[in-house]
């Protein structure tokens, strides 16, 4: 597994400089637009595609769609055969919007930025901190998991662990990997807790080190999104 590093985000995307709260709003609004009728949906889909192209994250959005390609094709064919072409297009467009709806956010935001946004949205700082910490440790947990698997293999425990032939043995093998992983994870959680406490994380007078501000681009994007919504409502 390769958790994405900050340097892997598209640097030339203007969405990298926008506030994560703006992006969250845009994604939520796009996902809500799934319920619109076909003509309105086509307008939203076009506007959203233009935004994705302008933000230069079309590769990430296409990767999401590629993973759901089989489902999309089967569903489109079934809807066309049993119900009709209009309905097949409507469902395909809705599914595409739902699948790509949040790629705009996740392709251009780091977990640290999400942490700052969550804190400013009054989500408890401890929860936001726990989430960002877990993300930072994904790579380490992954390598630890592999080490446990290799250690158990050296002891003669065969992985992959699940098979129909010997279910009880399979569960015992899975347990031999999960138990040490849980113990190591707990030890790591405790050492982070101690480090955070030593740095005064739980102090009542603690302030977030990072403040987010709406820029001109944020205001422009939000105004455009509200404008599109008003137009769609007016031409209902």
């Amino acid at each position: 597994m390769r958790p994405r590093a900050q340097c892997e985000l598209p640097r030339d995307s203007f969405l990298r400089r926008t506030d994560p709260r703006t992006k969250l709003f845009l994604c939520a609004a796009t996902s809500a637009a799934v319920m619109l009728p076909l003509a309105h949906l086509a307008a939203v889909l076009t506007a959203y595609s233009l935004l994705i192209l302008a933000a230069r994250i079309e590769r990430q959005a296409l990767a999401q769609l590629r993973r759901a390609a089989v489902l999309l094709i089967v569903l489109f064919a079934a809807d066309w055969v049993w119900i009709g072409l209009d309905f097949a297009v409507l469902i395909a467009a809705r599914l595409i919007l739902l699948i790509t709806g949040f790629s705009l956010f996740f392709a251009t935001t780091t977990p640290d930025e999400l942490q700052a946004a969550l804190e400013q949205m009054r989500v408890p700082a401890r929860l936001a901190f726990a989430f960002a910490t877990a993300y930072r440790f994904l790579r380490l947990l992954d390598s630890e998991w592999r080490e446990i698997v290799e250690a158990q293999q050296a002891r003669g425990i065969v992985v992959p662990v699940l098979s129909w032939r010997a279910p009880r043995q399979s569960l015992a093998r899975a347990m031999s990997i999960i138990v040490p992983a849980v113990v190591l994870t707990t030890q790591r959680a405790w050492s982070i807790t101690e480090a955070a406490a030593a740095r005064g994380f739980e102090s009542p007078s603690r302030r977030s080190s990072r403040r987010l501000h709406f820029s001109r681009v944020d205001r422009l994007l939000l105004t455009a999104a509200v404008g599109v919504a008003v137009c769609l409502l007016a031409y209902r």
Binding site: I91, I99, W145, I178, V179, T193, S203
Partner: protein
Amino acid sequence: MGTALPPGPEPPRRYFSLFELLLLAMLAALIVVANFALRFPIRMPGHSGVVWMALLVTAATIVPKRGAAITAGCISGVLAAFVGIGDRGALDTVLSYAAAGVGVDLSMMVLGRGARVASCVVAGALGNLLKLATKVMLEVWIGIPTGFVLLGRLYPAATYTLFGLAGGYLGFLVVGALRRAGFFAYVAEKR
């Protein structure tokens, strides 16, 4: 003798301690790692639920408070969305991971959070089924005919239940092994 400093403001009492929150977050990360690292040779829907539900049941037992599995589920959902796991987009990933946590927490609230095999097994099955239910609800929400959806999900419903039961039982075994190793006494000291 100098004058004593006035006492600072009392930190507010929290539902989850920082250690518990970090532990749940790290277990959530472990769920994502396990989902990615473990590739079983079984080609059946819902098979990833075995290790997934085992870890959620373990998380809900190690942190025996309401909302523990939901917290782990939500965090693992957002982490999975960042890593790019899931074939139906980030919204589906976040909601289905969170729903699994809701299922585990709900059944543990009703059946108790002890080391009973029944509560772990039912929690695993309900968690895995709610994950599937979320996918079904999203499909119905976007307007796919309910008949299509239900017909297409009959077989997955059976396999999700089966793998959920297996995951719950694996969770029970893991909790038992941890208890025998004195892990719960270790965690109680830290809490």
